[in-house]
Symmetry: D2
Subunit: 235 residues, 4 copies
């Protein structure tokens, strides 16, 4: 769950409790690459509709945990494979952008997503190169406008860990960069840049996000802050 | 010019001499990313036709020359921008895969190519993640078969610097890797791996190549070896 | 000048003004390697006297400024040379540990220091391996006790940027490490570890410090904070 | 055992066989840091005598084997500790430079050695900063002359894997560098540079060597080549 994207999926907790006879409930974080991709896709999905997405990731070593990747596999190297990562990215994004209803369950968003996942020699921060075809065409300026005006439930509720903007746009031609921008808004924002036309799909850009903050621990905290406001935490 | 791809473009030298009143001639290498992408595309283009390509590169520091990229911009970083690189990649590949005729000049191959270019912290070796839509659909096994059976003029002529195979396919799920595979056939081959279905364009794979050997100095040498056989070098 | 080490050198400002007919004055930071070495040596010098020091540094890329070291010289490399650095380290440390008097000028501390300076692939943080011969022998425990009880003028005055302890001792066998410990006390402390016997000189340890914070900008700020208290800043 | 240093220790094999009732025998390689230090010390020991050595190493990741050092501990980091490495370096060097006699066993060379061992982010190649006090003083030029004229049994016998010179001297002020020089003579030589006066011990220099070639597998091969000539290999 990502509070900016599918806060309404909280309603599924009721069904989970009922079906399993639970008092408590389990809510999981999304995959760390999927979180930042989905944060960037959400305002575009709402504004233009999405038909197709092709994403190539350059992911941080910390995403593999500790001890994780041996240094001899990391130094002076790119590994174009992360076990199960492409599958997760290709399914979780649609699920998070989709809806949930008490009778129908989860209804994934209806678009095609193809992912190439790579491990590169950075400590933290997943960089993702995205090409996208909208249902309703949009210029780069319109895309930037939609990114920058995006606000969602965590911002409206003023949750303590919520970034003031979920998606920050850099306009310099060579930004965001992993080392310089991964800590934007304490690592809780997704940082987009290089929004431009794609000769194949219409629009392309890069999105960068901190994988162990917004992509992991920070995501859990923001979820908990939302649940508290929603009355879902034990007093 | 790439001898395995467009050896017939040598015929353009005659026109160049005539138009400019030269005795000599100038033949240029392709861009270092375009060389390896084009080597991989050539047998596919001939076998299945190409409709569209989306490529995301993870390029080596040596591609920027010396002193090139400052170490503070390289360590623990990805830079999602290389000046003019996407433009070159998007135009040179079609030109090299296209034909040349004495009356018509160059006729670029007719497909759409979109590129995302990134600089990563490796010394040598450009890794490229490729999604491709063929005119005539092909399975991953058929694609691999076409890669592996590819031989061209340098192989037929037995040019001294020619790799025995222009395109080498790795079948391990996590290969090629930049550090382990960039020196394949003395850095003169392109190394392909992870050939699989792309939910969006039909086929995806990665291709890796040495940017300062096959992508630069080695390319010039192989061109010269071809010219010698063709009688285009002064005796 | 380092406020914890030679705050009394402030008296030299009076002579500087007089000799040059200045109203203002110029106070310089020490070399970034010398600052952390001297911070560690100061309490030992006062407690045991110093006879000889041998130091080998492993210095950060940021010490060379920007653009500084090309990435091709940094990745997968050690450079055992930094221009003029060994000379600075060998002279500044004695000067800072020495005294100043109105009639005699600067009187460098009287011990031998030999330095080996190396550049390694870290962004920030100079690690220094130190062997030392005291005038009055001391056990590792006594050395640790002296490091940990060290407080100086910035701590007594409670200067805003002063670290609570100028020298922090780590007792784990594999600490300090550059990446984990360079930010100790906001990068304003020197971090010592591996205090043990040296078969040759009696005592050995490592000291790590942040070269662009305490080693540069932070040093200037702390100096200015001291000058304000001393009435040396214009109101 | 290092053929250039203690080829006469082969005589200990006879005692080993006798004492243990073996037909075969076991000969071990030295520690990878000790091999290159000892190769550099050997000609100096013979020419000037050695009184004291202080060495600080900057060792490669491959020295820790595979998977070895996690990438998160290597990237942008120096680790000033390698388990048991300082102890090995402090004892093996004297043993190898010492003698062996049938009645007295091993007699270690009689000098003091102190080691600081560090792990840095290089793939292969141990760089070692050495300060040394000779019994009989020598100028840097005399030291260089001794390094360059050093030849030993593997060179005299023309063993196939023997480097033409065991110790190669670089005279540029910023060499050897790990990345540029570790492969000198196919990684079988030790490369020395920056030979200069040490204000404390008299002489200082750096020595670099390939830890997995001369420091490991290559050392075993050279030993075997010597044993073959000595008639110690089964026919």
């Amino acid at each position: 769950m990502i509070p900016e994207v599918n806060a309404d999926h909280v309603a599924a907790i009721e069904a989970q409790r009922k079906n399993r006879g639970w008092k408590g409930y389990i809510v999981t974080n999304a995959n760390c690459s999927a979180i930042h991709l989905t944060l960037a896709l959400k305002p575009l999905y709402d504004a233009f509709g999405i038909d197709a997405v092709l994403v190539t990731t350059m992911q941080a070593l910390s995403g593999a945990g500790y001890p994780g990747v041996p240094s001899l596999d990391s130094l002076d190297n790119v590994i174009p494979f992360i076990s199960n990562e492409e599958e997760k990215l290709e399914t979780e994004s649609q699920k998070m952008l989709g809806g949930w209803s008490a009778d129908g369950g989860f209804a994934p968003a209806n678009f095609v997503l193809s992912a190439h996942c790579n491990r590169v020699a950075v400590r933290d921060g997943h960089m993702e190169a995205v090409s996208i075809r909208f249902k309703q065409p949009a210029t780069p300026d319109e895309v930037i406008e939609v990114f920058e005006s995006f606000r969602a439930k965590p911002q409206e509720l003023g949750l303590p860990s919520a970034p003031p903007q979920p998606v920050v746009v850099r306009r310099e031609k060579n930004r965001p960069q992993t080392n310089m921008d991964r800590d934007t808004h304490n690592g809780m924002a997704s940082v987009v840049g290089r929004v431009r036309e794609c000769p194949l799909l219409g629009t392309k850009f890069v999105v960068l996000g901190h994988n162990t903050i917004r992509g992991a621990a920070g995501a859990s905290i923001l979820n908990a802050e939302l649940f508290k406001v929603e009355g879902l935490l034990p007093v």
